[in-house]
């Protein structure tokens, strides 16, 4: 293995994980990108509830949804489920 990887003395025992998946960006899996139209958005947050990836964030202060494209895999569930038709899937 490459020398960058840790040796047996450096890692926790028993396969205890030491890195959160938030450090693993799945955004580059995406072919289509969800683009919200915040004018049309009624803030029902169904997209948030149906997202498999937790890639839609509710910004409480700003009172709006925000896509985290670091993680969004572009499945399109949000666009399909949005009753306001406020999310468009756009080819990257």
């Amino acid at each position: 293995m490459t020398s960058k990887q840790k040796g047996w003395k450096e890692i926790p025992i028993a396969g205890v994980c030491w890195t959160p998946t938030t450090e693993y960006l799945t955004g580059d899996w995406r072919t289509f990108k969800p683009v919200p139209d915040l004018q049309k958005c009624n803030k029902c947050l169904l997209c948030y509830v149906y997202c498999p990836d937790g890639a839609i964030e509710w910004k409480r202060e700003a009172e709006k949804i925000e896509f985290n494209y670091n993680y969004c895999k572009g499945c399109g569930i949000c666009a399909n489920e949005c009753r306001q038709e406020a999310i468009k899937m756009v080819r990257e």
Binding site: G15, T21, T22, Y24, R30, D53, A55, C75
Partner: protein
Amino acid sequence: MSSEWKFTTKDLAEKPELLMPGHRACAGCGPAVVYRQILKATRGPIIATNATGCMEVVTTIYPYTAWRIPWIHTAFENVAANAAGIETALKVMKRKGHLKHDHIDVIAFAGDGGTYDIGLQALSGAVERGHDFLYVLYDNEAYMNTGIQRSGGTPHCASTTTSPAGRVIPGKPEYKKPIADIMVAHGIPYVAAASPAYWRDLITKARKGLEVKGPAFLHALAPCPRGWRYDTSKTIEIARLAVETCVFPLWEAVDGEHSLSAPSKVIALKPERKKPVREYLKNQGRFRHLFTPEFEHIIDEIEHIVDRRWKLLLKKCGMA
């Protein structure tokens, strides 16, 4: 039994994300939606255990983990025994004063393979002994992790890699095992069927399952775009159609007393709202072979099975 907890989507959005993004489930993964929704139902400290399967793999590819709660996987067929061990350890450690928390919930996740098939013995044993835990079956209706092989949860005539749609045998010859009925027959305090399309219903049921003392079993339908062969954007749509066609009705049984949940109750009261099963099957590649002259009669057969099971359920719910 009813939960005191009422919530809006904003309440959910403000609860911490216990399953972190960056997990490697496929785009449009139904089980990932189910997991996220269920983890929004937590009421305090919780320990999770997972059977081997898609969600075990995609959430914990070493050294990464998507879990913000303590989590353990040991093997495929034993997740209920994991839960039993954890719950029992917590009980005794609390009694001996070795535990800081007043109460810790225990949740076990398994797919259909880990529940209907290889894990049934451990599950039956654990609920018979009455351990206090919530068992979540995320049912994507085949062994997706190993490449879409049929399980006891695969529906009749679905094409899988071990029950392919052949020229002679059109998919899986057998029928879906009534797993939730089997769990009700164990006499446990809470059993429910839920679909992620009806998120409020699913999350409330998960919460009830955590709140109830003793074993609770939550059967969550979890469509899989890869295995069911549909467009990744349709996961929730298909999860909704399963309910609208009565292929997967929503119900719960509290201490063995059945009742229909709202989306299915509407259909029971207004049967004209029940959609034909064809609507559910047609968007899924695993049933594509049924839409040929040779095998089209099977659709009627499936409709017939669905009707029969629906009627039995209505009877149990006192709505026949």
